[in-house]
Amino acid sequence: MSIKKSPWIIHYDGSSCNGCDIEVLACLTPLYDIERFGIINVGNPKHADILLITGGVNQQNKTVIKNLYDQMAEPKAVVAIGACACTGHFFAECYNMLGGVDTVIPVDVFVPGCAARPEVIIDGVVKALAVLEKKQQEKVTA
């Protein structure tokens, strides 16, 4: 049994400007079509294996992100998409921003770019698959 063949993803928009969000959505649509790899975008965190987060963390959404992460079943992986999710980008200087996603939850893969391109996002998800696989094996042996 391998999650690798069909990982389900959930997308949450931290405090992104939408640029990365629409690129995540673009991955699902005909030109890039990640569904051909068995990847399905779901709305329920309990069904998801990989959490994609765009945008940085601010005061209000940090509990939302934490909740979403906690609701996901093990093994799980987190992919931070775009410069804001990685480090906060120039919004890190703003008074209401805490910084990148890793300030709240552990992040496995960082995807660079402003906005991150669909090719890079797909690459990031594929990298997350390896992480998932490793986590699953650890779980089995433990």
Binding site: Q59, Q60, Y95, N96
Partner: protein, 125 residues
């Protein structure tokens, strides 16, 4: 081409009557904005009627700034007034919907009121 913009300075006490008059004339509220100046807050009430730009401007002191709400005359104003309260710490009285400072839920209280442009520009500029 740049549009002509009419900016009228009024007194704080005139606000309600002016807002009432202008909304009766069929103007639409475009925005309410606040700008921190060195010795006062500058409040802008922007209206529009058939592409005619009309702006009411008033100033209030930096210490304990208060404003009467116009949201019972012009409903959309409550969003801007709550925003002003959260960002600038201006107390707006009698809003139709008062978020009590929870509109943006920001970590810092009235961030726009504490940092002044003059401070940062002398530092860096």
């Amino acid at each position: 081409m740049f549009e002509d913009q009419e900016i009228v300075t009024i007194e704080r006490s005139e606000l309600i009557s002016r807002a009432q008059k202008i909304s009766k004339e069929g103007y639409r509220l475009v925005q309410i904005g606040c700008t921190k100046q060195s010795d006062h807050f500058q409040i802008d009430y922007t209206f529009d009627k058939e592409y005619r730009f009309y702006n009411l401007r008033l100033s209030i002191p930096l210490d304990h700034p208060t404003l009467p709400s116009i949201s019972h005359l012009i409903m959309p104003a409550f969003l801007y007034e709550n925003e002003m309260h959260d960002l600038f710490g201006i107390q707006v009285s009698d809003m139709i919907l008062d978020y009590q400072g929870k509109f943006y839920n920001i970590a810092k209280k009235a961030p726009f009121a504490t940092i002044s442009a003059a401070d940062t520009t002398t530092e860096k500029g």
